[in-house]
Symmetry: C2
Subunit: 374 residues, 2 copies
Amino acid sequence: MEKKEFTVTPWEVKGEVDYDKLVEQFGVQKIDNLILNRIQKHTKELHFMLRRKIFFAHRDINWLLDEYEKGNKFYIYTGRAPSGPVHLGHLMIWVFTKWLQDKFKTELLFQFPDEEKFLFKENLSLEKSEEYLHENMLDVIALGFDPKKTKFLIDTKNADLMYKEACKVAKKITFSTVKAAFGLNEQSNIGAIFYTSMQAVPAFLPSVLKNKKIPCLILHAIDQDVHFRITRDILPKLGYYKPASIQGIFLPPLTGPLGKMSASEESSAIYTTDSSKESENKIKKYAFSGGQATIEEHRKKGGNPDIDVSYQWLRMFFEPDDKKLMKIHDDYKSGRLLTGELKEILIEKVIKFLKEHQKKREQAKKQINKFLIK
Amino acid sequence: MEKKEFTVTPWEVKGEVDYDKLVEQFGVQKIDNLILNRIQKHTKELHFMLRRKIFFAHRDINWLLDEYEKGNKFYIYTGRAPSGPVHLGHLMIWVFTKWLQDKFKTELLFQFPDEEKFLFKENLSLEKSEEYLHENMLDVIALGFDPKKTKFLIDTKNADLMYKEACKVAKKITFSTVKAAFGLNEQSNIGAIFYTSMQAVPAFLPSVLKNKKIPCLILHAIDQDVHFRITRDILPKLGYYKPASIQGIFLPPLTGPLGKMSASEESSAIYTTDSSKESENKIKKYAFSGGQATIEEHRKKGGNPDIDVSYQWLRMFFEPDDKKLMKIHDDYKSGRLLTGELKEILIEKVIKFLKEHQKKREQAKKQINKFLIK
């Protein structure tokens, strides 16, 4: 098979991502059936995103479960850098986060590094970032996280808790390291250079605050891995555990299997605030099809679900039922199901999901304070 | 005259400092009589540290006074990076700060960058830095600052106010700039690289909090100038005034006219917590003398007050009365006053000052909270 070029960094994902190659490059482990069995021992059922390897890789999950089984409970750390509206690609990982939190009854520290994108994007103001912060918090709350077990850690607002800890991390990281890890250079600004220290903090802050070592599980899309490789290097030097992690693949953009969904490309993403009509139109207009050029040809040759975005969205997010999904897969592959019909299945599910989400998003406006640390 | 080598950076002061050369190198202005007259118009009297050019250089004082005369009142910003006990060299600048604050009835923002020395010194822990912070605050309070008009800004504790603003500064500063300005390199840690952004914040934070441009006067020893040259470059780009500043020379170390007093060299400094006996012994044992080798020779040739540390301490800190100082000067120069006698004059004044300071320092323990921002 031809080798394709692709890029996966915290700032850019492009090309057709070869996840096997990433596993090797980043030095993560694939989540195999032994691990799934261990998880299932505690969760009883397995989330379809685990069964289907949407969350496909990890570091130190066996250690984390060893600790858990000894009674040394972990907490979950995930996050969102507010730089635009939330789309379905963002929600996917948080839906899984909530499931994992519920099943293991853990605390969740949700970081909003509201300075990150400001520091890395020439044209994003902090004011704009604060607007997105507010909007993005609503989306997280709308997913139903329990405010008693979930706290939002906002870099600029909670810097009185974070900056000191970030300095401890920063003292152990040279410019040379961030240059190599993130491709920074002499023209990079000194805030961007410092930033990874802040992203490390939620991986040990609860241990600081409670003055005991608490295991941490980071849930993140694989593009953030480089931050946490550095974090894992440093934390033991500060007397804390290396965080364990679970990495997810990207929900593909509407426009096709390359890259990841981007909040700044309207045609690639469905936002949580899109109306039913907008969602429907976007899917009809942009959703990349694995079908054939004509109905006749499609009936004869069948479609390719592996590259069909509507099918992939059903597989990764909207159709939890394996049997139903298998039928859709087989029908599409055999040509019984047309692209238009497949899109209709997705549209109905997306609209239903968004209607519910938007209702809860409205209710979330009164709940923000419950999630803030102060 | 032979040219001497000397170094003045925020981390190192060594050699015989040529202040005229620094004025040129750093691009500051000397404080001339026109400026002294303008200041005196408002203060009625002139502090001896101004008359004697202990505070000898400035930036934009004319602009600052223009604004003041238009009713646009400035505030003062000074600070102390807690990395050891406070000595008399530190106090000198704060004594002057208090006078200026009282005369112009201004607010004072006193920064304690408690992460700075941690980031720049291999062996200083943050815990140790916090101890010094507490001790150092007592020394500042003991000088009698009015808690209604004086606030302590502690980098790690007030980072919720500062970090966001520091990020705005940081976005405008490249690694290349701090490399050139501070001599940092690829092996420097990313906290040290970021740090100057935090030191810039007190120069505009009140403008942020009150949402209007407020002139700022920074009082500092000349070794901190490089931070504020960068600050002055950046602030107009963020919509704030360039801070004005007044720079002071260093109280010479007991051991001689080279370098500056160092908290880490016992023999060079008198600490605010030294007992009367310790102060007396240090001055007797270490204070560099401008006198001759024998009494006979001294009576004949006279001493050199310009290099005599006891005389310089009287001139710079402990003898505000110009006439008395002149008499000491002339007596020493003519040989009438012996080094031992000169030291006795200083010892008496230092002991008296420290006794009073230590009493107020005890009382200060109950007052810290009044100076904290939260």
